[in-house]
């Protein structure tokens, strides 16, 4: 069963699990995922590329002018041929890029009337700027989890510690899933995918660290707020709360 699950991270099962995983991921980060059913490959890689499909197309056109269907082909190739991009999505995005003056038609066309697109100077500048500019905090999805925990703290009848614990277990499961995907991808040449996986793994890890930290903070707070007379011998262990230094050596 276990080894079966491990193998399950292989190509065979991925189309089943990936959209779900991406959806869970999206809910985790508080963002909506457009066109989820079309994502059939590489979990979050596809998802992340979907978020920046504009810049993905610009990056491909930076290499050379291309037909729309070529762009689609190259796009799929660069995602390890596991994300069959909807050709309509390519043309819609191209039309917007053209409207914004970032790409233009070269005037060439094939016998079917398909046209060749190239990057404009403005498109080149946009792409260069995108690579050169770090993401600002405000560009990231709002941190729904932090808000949820903060609300849990101030809402009567909600046990914050169990909110933290439930989340930690869920995030660890997610981390296990990502780690299995990584174990499968390890031997592959797909460095881009491995980099993206690592990024998601470190993010999930940071979340667990924050949850641990929050739990310790709350436990300490509870210990100091406990009335002096209430701390008998039976609480000897639980009042001896660990310091952060001890927890995160």
């Amino acid at each position: 069963m276990r080894s079966g699950d491990r193998n399950g991270a292989d190509a065979g099962e991925v189309p089943q699990r990936v959209p779900r995983d991406a959806a869970a991921r999206a809910r985790l980060s508080g963002t909506a995922v457009p066109d989820m059913p079309r994502l059939t490959g590489h979990t979050a890689y596809a998802y992340l590329v979907a978020m920046s499909i504009r810049h993905g197309l610009l990056a491909l056109l930076e290499r050379s002018p291309m037909y729309g269907y070529q762009l689609r082909h190259e796009f799929e190739r660069s995602t390890g041929a596991t994300w069959p991009l909807n050709v309509g999505q390519v043309y819609t995005t191209l039309a917007r890029l053209e409207r914004d003056g970032l790409v233009e038609q070269t005037g060439e066309s094939d016998e079917d009337g398909k046209v060749v697109y190239r990057l404009t100077d403005a498109g080149h500048a946009e792409l260069t700027g995108w690579f050169a500019t770090p993401l600002a905090g405000a560009d990231r999805p709002r941190d729904e989890l932090a808000i949820k925990v903060a609300l849990a703290l101030t809402t009567p009848g909600v046990d914050v510690r169990s909110v933290l614990q439930t989340q930690r277990t869920a995030t660890l499961r997610h981390l296990q899933e990502l780690t299995r995907l990584k174990a499968v991808a390890d031997g592959s040449e797909d460095t881009a995918w491995l980099l993206v996986l690592d990024s998601m793994i470190f993010r999930a890890e940071a979340e667990v660290r924050w949850l641990d930290h929050s739990e310790t903070r709350l436990a300490r707070l509870a210990a100091t707020q406990r009335p002096a007379g209430a701390s008998g011998p039976s609480t000897a262990v639980s009042t001896d709360e660990p310091s952060d230094e001890a927890v995160r050596r």
Binding site: M1, R2, A170, L172, H174, E177, E205, V237
Partner: protein, 243 residues
């Protein structure tokens, strides 16, 4: 697939001291580790993780409940029998490493095999293989005080992995290692378990725990949560925490 329990804790408790100053290091822990399975134990400092590993390794005896290794209740064994089980079935990476300072890396690693009666030459060859497996093959003839903390750690891991050991108990085996090296160690452990061994791993690092089939959480000596064995991906959807 084998479902044999390599390690089983049945309602295990451990109390240090007596009366009003008694410390309940562990309370009513039940846990089954199967062949091929890697379980990670997480929890704050003082929550009982090392105590759990000591009990599992027969280095300490429970106050309540029973510890079974490959079906044998450790409490029923004589001292000599217990020592034999520890030597043959168990590999242990201690939180404080426990390398013998007067022995080289290879000698430290070969020691448990020699105690098992393996010929010195064969034990050394196995030791060199185990050292190479964790990436410190070239340090075989150095003494512990001639190695960095992380290198010593890998030697200790090699010692736990050498020979046909089926149960590896590791207490913070990646503590002194950098991110990449720590991960390499987890890969070695994972590969061992995929090859049929079983592992119980204490770690503070979620990223390392995630290599395990199952992650359990200890708090104040009690098991408070568990990711379950090899969760199906749907769990990601149904877990309320993602809402």
């Amino acid at each position: 697939m084998s479902t044999g329990a390599v390690l089983e804790l049945r309602g295990v408790g451990r109390v240090h001291g007596e009366g009003p100053t008694a410390v309940h290091a562990l309370r009513d822990i039940s846990l089954t580790l199967r062949s091929g399975e890697l379980i990670a134990v997480m929890g704050p400092s003082g929550s009982g993780k090392s105590t759990l590993l000591h009990l599992a390794g027969g280095l300490d005896a429970p106050s309540d409940g029973a510890v079974l290794v490959e079906g044998t209740d450790l409490a029923t064994l004589s001292r000599a029998e217990l020592a034999a089980v520890r030597r043959r079935s168990l590999g242990y990476v201690f939180q404080d490493l426990n390398l013998i300072p007067a022995l080289t890396a290879a000698e430290n690693v070969a020691l448990p095999r020699e105690l098992d009666g393996v010929r010195a030459r064969d034990a050394r060859r196995e030791a060199l293989d185990a050292l190479a497996e964790v990436g410190v093959g070239e340090l075989a003839d150095r003494f512990p005080d001639e190695m960095s903390g992380g290198q010593q750690q890998r030697v200790a891991i090699a010692r736990a992995l050498i020979g046909p050991r089926r149960l590896v108990l590791a207490d913070e085996p990646t503590g002194a290692l950098d991110s990449q090296t720590g991960e390499d160690v987890l890969r070695v452990l994972r590969a061992r378990c995929d090859a049929g061994a079983s592992g119980l791993l204490v770690t503070h690092e979620a990223r390392h725990a995630a290599w395990a089939d199952r992650v359990v959480f200890l708090r104040d000596g009690a098991l408070v949560d568990d990711t379950g064995a090899a969760p199906p991906p749907e769990v990601l959807l149904t877990a309320d925490g993602f809402g």
